[in-house]
Symmetry: C2
Subunit: 273 residues, 2 copies
């Protein structure tokens, strides 16, 4: 998969990966901005709680979005592949102005939604202008190439990360969440070491990137986003280094972005607030 084709005259919606643990009550800047994008009180937000194995995750977000003034917020009860084929769920999704995928385990999202009409609808709707946000596992699933897992707290190496196909809403970035909090530098570097075609984003908790239709992302929230741009990579030892061995990678560019800063995923330029 790659991002779904955008029909002539249409603009795709925002893609909004959140690094997990976004502030929900006191000062929910990320959720608020998402709600505004989706139409505020006229928004119709469909929640996909599939990543979570807690019964109340969907209901919690329904309440949160209503508290933020959303007229219509509904969680789809998709817990298995049957549910992802259910026409009632698909019909609900079609009415969304915004889609929100909760946290949990991204392998639940990929294994339950992968290849189903729900996954296809999310891609098609996003390409037609519907905004899609996701937190933690719900962020992980967004790119074409998803970080499925990996060893935390290790140096980058061939065994440092497990990649799997994601939803393919974006393909210019590889991303990881809970970045500073869970020390995922090693696994994010391992991921781009495999194929340095994409920019890598390490997104902290309570921090989101709002990727606009023009491919420029803006950082929102209290933490940082580490951007690794491997376009200028001069040398990588990845092919020769033995399994588990330390790597050499020369010529990476890095930006650390906090709220208000932006990055063009196409031209790979970074901008201050």
């Amino acid at each position: 998969m790659c991002p779904a084709k955008i029909a002539e005259g249409e603009t795709r919606g925002y893609v909004i990966p959140i690094g997990g643990a976004e502030e929900k009550i006191q000062n929910p800047v990320i959720l608020k901005k998402f709600v505004e994008l989706c139409g505020g009180e006229k928004a119709r937000i469909v929640i996909i709680p599939t990543a979570s194995q807690l019964d109340d995750t969907g209901a919690t977000y329904e309440e949160l979005f209503r508290a933020l003034g959303v007229g219509n917020a509904v969680s789809l009860p998709i817990e298995g592949r049957d549910d992802a084929l259910n026409e009632v769920n698909i019909a609900e999704l079609e009415k969304a102005t915004g889609i929100f995928m909760t946290g949990g385990n991204q392998l639940r999202l990929s294994t339950i939604l992968g290849g189903t009409p729900i996954a296809q609808a999310i891609r098609r709707l996003n390409s037609a202008g519907v905004h899609v946000a996701g937190t933690s596992a719900g962020a992980a699933i967004m790119p074409e190439h998803m970080i499925a897992g990996g060893s935390a707290d290790t140096l980058p190496n061939e065994n440092g990360v497990t990649l799997a196909p994601g939803l393919g809403l974006i393909n210019k970035v590889i991303l990881d969440q809970h970045f500073s909090e869970r020390n995922r530098w090693g696994r994010l570097m391992s991921a781009i070491a495999y194929n340095p075609f994409a920019s890598a984003l390490g997104i902290d908790e309570d921090t989101a990137v709002f990727i606009a239709p023009n491919n420029i992302l803006e950082v929102v929230g209290s933490g940082s986003v580490l951007v690794i741009d491997p376009a200028g990579l001069q040398y990588s030892s990845m092919a020769e280094a033995g399994s588990g061995s330390a790597l050499t990678m020369l010529g990476l560019k890095v930006h650390m972005l906090s709220s208000g800063s932006s990055y063009d995923t196409a031209s790979r330029e970074a901008f201050k607030p």
Copy 2:
């Protein structure tokens, strides 16, 4: 302090920060290379165990160096400032072809040796050709600006690191050790955010950089060295960001180096093995 002046016709010795936990028995590539530099069986290695609070640290390294064929390895019993003024210790140090500082707590090194004839002698001897290696705390103390401490596992910010004056054997780099193992990305970034004049080195365990008299460093050992080169920094929010707030830093260059790779701390070029 800055690196001691090198007298005409002389060449300074290598400066060799080791990221801690270097392999000592099976395949001690780092210690072996240090011993060779110092003259092999003709080497006279003086160990400074001051960082450690274990009684046997000095004796352990004496044995290790002898096992590697060193004719003369002696540990100086410097446990307090009195010992750092003791002329017997200074006279022993003067005979060294190589000086080795053990791990422990770098604040013991800075508070016990700082401003003493022992510290002055280490600087003077290094500028006259004596090689100086140090592991963990013994590495931390080497630069002009030493990382004294900081919060691990956090995102880079104004409170992320505590800097203090070090021995000043090198001033073109700021370094941290146990880098991947203790997730010190945040505190190393915080350190260069204060003043991005130096290259930052994040040195893994069982990994060393051998900084040659010509300022080119080579990586030796099983791990990686992360080099952050802030020379091209376009923007930093450090001055405006509130205490503890996330930072924006645009335009950093990063190299990941493994064994055999090198980096010119003067020209800031990186080279593959």
